[in-house]
């Protein structure tokens, strides 16, 4: 074959291969008009195919050519939330299907949570996220707090993101609690109990402060009775203690729960978790974590006087939630949860339509400002958000009997 023909053939083959190298694993999106169960199934495949990171679920994926030859994790600050939502989803799903594949996937997600602890090298210290890499990735400098990325001392070739927050704390107790309750076998129940014991034990040892690698309290990790903290954090700590006591059976957690109530009045402090005024102070993420906390506490608590207080908290939330529209997927979780906990029928036709219209994400093109040695370069690439809240909502609703399989 002539040399130039060979060269052309080589170039042509390379051009054909480039999209394959850069292509995402899963590219099929549902249509907005598809039935809910089809949409959930397709977004589930997108998440499992494109967002998987060694047991954790990436909240935000940036595809090549943005800086690397493989998909990278964008803002990884909330990776633990998405992993937790997926684990809860598969725990609810397994409770319905009894399918060993669903349980196996849930176990892999739980192992991902364990890896978030292992990578820090300190028992009970959990990372927000991690990456296997031989050098710092560009997004560390621009998408979160650069000082919070660390080389792992326990897993060579990994970097992890610290500064765990109260949100991640809450997601962990919620999801591990649900996994333990509905999905885990004996071996994984043990692992779940040990993880929460290490995590919460370390926080209690530090006077209810979530401390980081440097020994300082993290930006949002304040549950300390001796320091001023958000009312929501009091609620979250009570939930964590209740769940951990139930799972581990260790009296230490029951005693701490009652100490915070009897001596420090966390049961009263939690009442004002919901900011009702002014509107700009309302925070949908706070709603989400209050809901997770109340969902666990109100099912596990049997003291009537405490239940009344938790219900008061829920009522204050409902005062706001009842006016939400369904443009935000998080609202579906709140409405289903409220109906489940109160027995009130709040699923109006409009809200049911909102559930049916749930959507995960659209893949979009964005420009990224990638730092270089002498400044930065602008690169256009594709990115995806997450659909784990939608998937969790669906299987939660199915589990509660409030979402019809035919929808």
């Amino acid at each position: 074959m002539h040399k130039s023909t060979l060269y052309l053939l080589l170039v042509f083959s390379t051009l054909l291969l480039v999209p394959l190298v850069f292509a995402q694993k899963v590219n099929d999106f549902p249509k907005k008009t598809d039935p809910l169960h089809i949409k959930v199934n397709m977004f589930d495949k997108l998440i499992r195919g494109n967002h998987w990171n060694e047991g954790t679920i990436m909240q935000h994926v940036i595809f090549p050519p943005a800086g690397l030859d493989r998909p990278i994790i964008g803002s990884q600050a909330d990776c633990l939330d998405n992993t937790a939502e997926m684990l809860a989803a598969y725990s609810y799903k397994y409770a319905l299907t009894n399918n060993p594949n669903d349980r196996d996937f849930a176990n892999q997600l739980f192992d991902g949570l364990l890896k978030l602890e292992t990578v820090t090298g300190i028992p009970g210290l959990i990372a927000r996220s991690f990456n296997k890499t031989d050098k710092p990735l560009w997004h560390e400098k621009v998408l979160w707090y650069p000082m919070e990325w660390h080389w792992s001392t326990s897993m060579k070739g990994y970097r992890w993101l610290g500064d765990l927050s109260a949100d991640k704390f809450t997601s962990l107790f919620y999801t591990v609690g649900i996994f333990w309750e509905l999905c885990a076998d004996y071996e994984y129940k043990q692992k779940a109990a040990e993880l929460l014991d290490r995590f919460l034990g370390r926080i209690i040892d530090n006077n209810f402060k979530l401390t980081d690698l440097d020994g300082k309290m993290t930006l949002w990790g304040n549950f300390c009775p001796n320091l001023p903290h958000q009312s929501l954090n009091s609620l979250e700590m009570l939930m964590a203690l209740k769940v951990t006591y139930r799972i581990t059976g260790k009296e230490r957690y029951n005693a701490a729960y009652h100490m915070l109530i009897d001596r420090y009045h966390y049961d009263d402090h939690q009442l004002q978790s919901k900011i009702l005024w002014p509107d700009e102070w309302k925070n949908p993420w706070d709603d989400d974590h209050a809901a997770k906390s109340l969902y666990m506490l109100m099912r596990y608590e049997d003291d009537r006087s405490l239940l009344i207080k938790y219900r008061m908290n829920l009522n204050r939330h409902w005062y706001d939630w009842q006016n939400h529209d369904f443009t935000f997927v998080g609202d579906v979780w709140l409405i289903i949860l409220y109906q489940l906990l109160t027995g009130e029928d709040v699923l109006t036709e409009k809200r049911i339509q909102g559930i049916k219209d749930m959507w995960g994400f659209d893949r979009r093109k964005s420009e990224f400002k990638i730092p270089t040695e002498d400044g930065y370069k602008i690169v256009e690439s594709e990115e995806e958000g997450s659909a784990t809240a939608m998937i969790r909502n669906y299987w939660f609703g199915r589990y509660c009997g409030l979402i019809d399989p035919s929808w």
Binding site: P146, M147, G215, K216, M217, N222, C224, P228, H229, N233
Partner: protein, 233 residues
């Protein structure tokens, strides 16, 4: 009991401090006067680097009533741009930029001691206004200008926004207090201390004693501004 003793000690020392350095000096425009004397520094309940709670002292000085604004900073650096509607918002800059501004305007950055004393006075309070917290006491959102907290609380010497709004640079390297032997690899001359918390952290970071550290050549995505002090001749 220990706190009471420390407080009494501050009171006695403050009384003995004598007149000359505590004569009230009329502050320059936009500044307030902080008298010389002792105050309670640090905390028993905060992070390890806030310990031990101890008595510290300062000379008298003036300190800016508000954090430096975007428009004030732009007078120093004409290349600095900001949205027109944010001219009275606190500027966000690196330590190096803050220091350069302070020198240009004939002032300097406060030491940690000066910052903490201006924020909490001499009675060891947790926040600039006292010991309880409410969202209405702070500039909760950086869309809003300096001093726009609903309750508009002042520190004991008349400073605004020393809790919340933006973090504030101090002149000091991040080092342990005397008597603190809890090891931290971050101590040394690598990081500068910022104080006061911002709109993006838990309430406890807004305490007058809380310390945080970042390199002087970046804000690291933290909203960090500053206010200046001026020596009394």
């Amino acid at each position: 009991m220990k706190t009471l003793l420390i407080f009494l000690s501050v009171c006695v020392t403050a009384t003995m401090a004598g007149e000359p350095q505590n004569v009230h000096h009329a502050p320059p425009k936009g500044m307030v006067f902080v008298p010389a004397g002792n105050f309670i520094m640090g905390s028993k309940y905060g992070d390890p680097d806030e310990k031990p709670q101890h008595i510290a002292d300062t000379k008298a000085y003036f300190i800016d009533k508000y954090e430096v604004s975007n428009s004030e900073y732009a007078e120093f650096n004409p290349d600095f741009t900001y949205p027109k509607e944010k001219e009275n918002n606190s500027v966000i800059v690196t330590w190096e930029q803050a220091k350069a501004y302070a020198v240009w305007v004939g002032k300097r950055l406060p030491t940690e001691k000066e910052w903490e004393k201006a924020a909490r006075g001499t009675d060891g309070r947790i926040f600039p206004w006292g010991n309880t917290y409410d969202n209405t006491f702070v500039v909760w959102d950086l869309r809003y200008p300096r001093g726009s907290a609903i309750a508009k609380p002042e520190s004991p010497y008349g400073c605004f926004d020393m809790a919340g709004s933006v973090w504030e640079w101090t002149a000091d390297w991040y080092k342990p207090y005397p008597g603190n032997d809890i090891p931290m690899e971050q101590y040394g001359e690598q990081y500068k201390v910022m104080r006061g918390g911002s709109n993006f952290c838990n309430y406890s970071f807004l305490r007058t004693t809380h310390r945080y550290y970042i390199p002087p050549n970046t804000t690291g995505r933290y909203p960090v501004g500053f206010r200046c002090v001026k020596d009394i001749e």
